[in-house]
Symmetry: C2
Subunit: 194 residues, 2 copies
């Protein structure tokens, strides 16, 4: 079993979200999805934005690293014109879907909107489109996503991320072992399969 903690706004989460279902299935490892918000984590470190925005040289590097990695993995890529994007609504829907069979496909669809189609994703239109494409009741899910209960659950999840020492995304857990970044996904899956 592998826990996948991720954020739709995180470009390295994009790589892992696109890859994990297939890579985990290949090893017979179940995926436990753990959507959480990165913004409050960064804020608690004193950062008002992504480190890729705040640290100019690192940011410049990241946008050269991403197309190279996407080529390696055979993934599409378009550098978002807005980074990081607001992700509150699709993250809340992800919370509703985390134990559902449509979760992986939903996450890939939202990630594509952000990192391939360069679309705003914090809108009922975009999220509804993703849900309808999967044959789901978009209106009911969007309503539930905006409920006080879902909002509170996402805050609690993010607090849990902080308590577990998560400082970035994606983050993977295999038991108590923590693995940071898409660069560790294969090691984490191997550990989970072993």
């Amino acid at each position: 079993m592998i826990e996948c903690w991720f954020e739709f706004g995180s470009n390295y989460s994009y790589l892992s979200v696109m890859r994990i279902e297939q890579e985990a299935a290949r090893r017979g490892v179940p995926v436990v999805w753990r959507p959480f918000l990165l913004g409050p984590i960064f804020k608690s470190q004193g950062w008002e934005n992504s480190p890729f925005v705040l640290q100019q040289a690192k940011g410049a590097y990241v946008w050269r690293d991403m197309p190279r990695l996407c080529r390696k993995y055979g993934l599409d890529w378009h550098q978002p014109s807005q980074f990081p994007r607001r992700t509150l609504l699709p993250m809340r829907v992800a919370l509703l879907g985390e134990d559902q069979p449509w979760m992986a496909a939903y996450c890939r669809r939202i990630m594509r909107m952000n990192f391939v189609e360069d679309r705003e994703i914090d809108h009922p239109e975009a999220v509804g489109e993703a849900l309808r494409e999967l044959g789901l009741s978009a209106d009911a899910l969007l309503r539930e996503a905006e409920s006080d209960q879902t909002k509170r659950r996402l805050r609690e999840r993010t607090a849990e991320a902080q308590e577990r020492g998560i400082f970035g995304a994606p983050m993977f857990f295999v038991g108590e072992e923590m693995y940071w970044g898409n660069d560790r996904l294969d090691d984490a899956l191997d550990a989970a399969a072993g």
Copy 2:
């Protein structure tokens, strides 16, 4: 050809410095060594210390990540009791050795002192021991390392690192392509060999 920009104080540089000569030779790729100082780079980003010290959660992670990676690569590991260590003298000697046949072995020896033997490395005793083990004239090299010319060259090298957009270590260049971190060493070598 691959350029290897590294620092003896950097734990992820340790992994790459230990691996690069063999991995590059296997692919027929010449290694160009580029020792530089990380401290001034961090300072220019407003950091008075390593991000692994300044960011507590990330720091805690790094010391769990390192033994795992060392096991994977078959490298010895002992978490340094002092981090990051001062590295000025061994870095200056590295500058003198960067085009010499003893460079790779010298770098591995200094890295072992820091990350396996938990020894201070910014001392003539430690650096002299490493040089003598390699059959070199330790006294002459240590004298040259402390010359004004060598000091100036290391400052210039570090300024060059900054101009090239280097924000951490290890950093690899293959032509104009920049690769950050031990996690990119294999991709960089593959690109250099291709």
